[in-house]
């Protein structure tokens, strides 16, 4: 009886750890998608402000990029805000404009 209880306790502990680990992983995985969705909303808003005439509108206060164009390909279902600079951090949110490319 006691041996069985010890086994049960070990399994409970294992289950709790697994659940916590699982929640952590799914949580941080989902977080990326949440950030991506939220960023698109903020980007669209920043683009709207840019269209109204302001320059270099940061979509969120600590962003180090800003929208430079909107890229739409209806036949492929693409509608993206192009960001200034093509670095890892801007590409995470959308297409980027290479600094070495033309600035026209």
């Amino acid at each position: 009886m006691t041996r069985q209880r010890v086994r049960a306790r070990v399994i409970t502990l294992l289950v709790v750890t697994l659940v916590l680990l699982g929640l952590w992983q799914t949580g941080s995985g989902t977080w990326i998608y949440v950030k991506a969705k939220l960023a698109q909303v903020l980007l669209q808003r920043a683009w709207a402000v840019s269209l109204a005439g302001q320059r270099d509108v940061k979509p969120w206060p600590w962003a180090d990029t800003w929208p430079v164009a909107r890229l739409v390909v209806p036949s492929l279902g693409i509608d993206q805000i192009v960001l200034a600079g093509a670095h890892g951090r801007t590409l995470a949110f959308g297409p980027g404009q290479l600094e070495s490319g033309s600035s026209a």
Partner: protein, 547 residues
């Protein structure tokens, strides 16, 4: 002469009459690259084929811009100017080039080598070298590359070259570090502050490698030293409020802090640098700030102004990582900070480059270098503040004066001991081009003044004065040549004869492709998380069955 691209030029010669021979003389100046103990001179001899993108645009009653093989396109409107016809292989020599060089290294050198062309090297009695190609002429299908390295030495060596122009004498002084450093000179204690960019873009190999080499650098500190680590993304965080003496516990704390760094968020460099420059100055210590970033930072003026006012006796070293750091900003920051700039293009090489830099920083060969001004009249020196001398990096000074002493003295500090080097100047031969070098340095110093509070108009006037006297292209001047003799009867039409180039030997295609990329492990994390949860559910069922 027109510049098509930074490395492609077109020389237009007006009219060449039948049977006429034309000599085009071009003079140019270039700073020789110094890297890993060798000097490198590259003489370009071929224009590589370029990929021309876009749709050809032809305007019917208008000639194309140039006579190249490609049509002008909407993306590259001058395509016909940068695509000379390429000759088919095996079509005999074209554009034969003969080459001879006079090399004045200014210090004893170990060896002179040409990488791609066999050469004959004849040493001169005054320390120079005459170099010519083994063959009379070679086809222009690859660049000529010459490398030379200084002979092994244990003491810094200096050399001076002069040019007399009108009443003024121009001089170029080069101080070369020893190839092997003696360990005799005592250490000066250091205050080392690492300022590391932990914005999202540093994620991945950049931050991992930077962390590893930072941790290694921390363990190399001695008990006399002090240390601090600051990280910045959208906020600035430091492990200590000011540099702390190195004790086991402080070091352990710093190392743990470095290991815990992770990259996320934006890039706000200015407050981080301000924080690092807050710690009290101490001229008896060597206060070094090492800035590691891959960032695009826009507020250059503020940054330079901050450094100008707050630097004092400290030194700032900048390290740029990845394909897109703002190199100009980082180089200037290091210049204002009287340190050096290291650029790491390849992310996998971050650790190697940083390790080498940190080792170098441990011990500058010389610091507080001064040129003795006795004997010089009206001396103008650029840069006015001489940087410290480190292993593997020579220092070059541009000087102008109305009269020169027979001998001048360089002074400095080697470790904690004073150091001086007398430099005889009597028998220097007259060289060309040094006045131009001086003028370039002066213009760049004037342009820098704009960052430190000088009015735009004063800067413009200063630059104009120098640029016009020395015929230099600058932000405010450009060159125009006017030829007024008509060589062709105006009624006769002119024909144009394009000159071909050879196709390049081993053109590197991979170097053209270097686009940044990105990725996320979000999917993997989701999958792993779900698997773990499923495992938990299975185990729970097993437990219920037990009970």
């Amino acid at each position: 002469m027109e510049q098509e691209r930074p490395n492609i030029f077109t020389t237009s010669v007006a009219n060449i009459g039948p049977g006429e021979r034309i000599i085009v003389e071009i003079e140019y100046q270039e700073t020789v690259r110094y890297d890993q103990g060798t000097f490198q001179l590259r003489f370009p001899m071929a224009v590589g084929q370029r990929f021309i993108s876009g749709t050809p645009v032809i305007v019917e009653d208008q000639d194309p811009n140039g006579s190249g093989t490609m049509l002008d396109t909407d993306r590259v409107p001058d395509a016909s100017r940068i695509t000379p016809p390429v000759q088919k292989p095996g079509q005999g020599p074209i554009n034969p080039v003969s080459l001879s060089l006079a090399l004045t290294p200014g210090f004893p050198i170990a060896k002179v080598e040409s990488l791609f062309h066999p050469v004959i090297v004849i040493p001169d009695p005054d320390g120079g070298y005459h170099i010519s190609l083994k063959k009379d002429a070679v086809p222009a299908d690859r660049d000529f590359q010459l490398t030379w390295s200084p002979a092994p030495s244990t003491e810094p060596a200096a050399t001076i070259l002069t040019e007399q122009r009108d009443v003024e004498t121009y001089a170029m002084l080069m101080l070369v570090p020893p190839t092997q450093q003696s360990n005799a000179a005592p250490h000066r204690p250091r205050d080392l502050t690492f300022v590391i960019d932990t914005s999202g873009s540093m994620a991945g190999p950049s931050i991992e490698q930077a962390k590893a080499s930072l941790a290694a650098a921390l363990t190399r500190l001695t008990t006399q030293d002090r240390v601090n680590v600051t990280q910045f993304n959208n906020t600035v965080r430091s492990v200590f409020s000011s540099p702390q003496p190195v004790t086991t516990s402080a070091l352990r704390k710093a190392i743990r802090y470095v290991e815990g760094l992770s990259a996320d968020g934006g890039t706000e460099m200015l407050p981080a640098l301000r924080q690092a420059l807050k710690s009290p100055q101490d001229s008896t210590r060597r206060q070094q700030i090492v800035l590691i970033t891959d960032g695009q930072v826009g507020n250059e003026d503020e940054l330079f102004e901050l450094l100008h006012h707050r630097l004092g006796t400290r030194r700032v070293f900048t390290i740029g990582i990845g394909s897109t750091p703002n190199s100009h900003l980082m180089r200037k920051t290091a210049e204002f900070g009287r340190g050096t700039f290291t650029y790491v293009e390849n992310v996998s090489a971050v650790k190697d480059k940083l390790d080498a830099l940190f080792k170098k920083l441990e011990r500058p060969v010389l610091n507080d270098i001064q040129l003795d001004r006795t004997g010089w009249t009206d001396l103008e020196q650029y840069p006015s503040n001489i940087a410290d001398l480190y292993e593997g990096e020579p220092i070059v000074l541009a000087l102008k004066a109305t009269s020169l002493p027979d001998q001048t003295i360089l002074r400095g500090q080697m470790g904690t001991q004073p150091w001086s080097l007398p430099l005889p100047m009597k028998h220097t031969t007259n060289r060309g081009g040094i006045s131009i070098y001086w003028a370039r340095q002066k213009i760049s110093a004037l342009m820098d003044e704009a960052f430190t509070g000088a009015a735009e108009e004063t800067v413009r006037k200063g630059v104009l004065n120098v640029a016009l006297v020395y015929h230099l292209v600058s932000k405010y001047t450009s060159l125009v040549a006017v030829d007024i003799t008509a060589a062709r009867p105006l009624s006769k039409p002119a024909t144009e004869l394009p000159q071909g180039t050879k196709s390049l030997e081993g053109q590197d295609k991979t170097a053209m492709i270097g686009l940044p990329k990105t990725g996320t492990n979000g999917q993997l994390q989701l999958l792993l998380g779900l698997l773990l949860l499923a495992g938990a559910a299975l185990l729970w069922r097993k437990r219920s069955m037990l009970a």
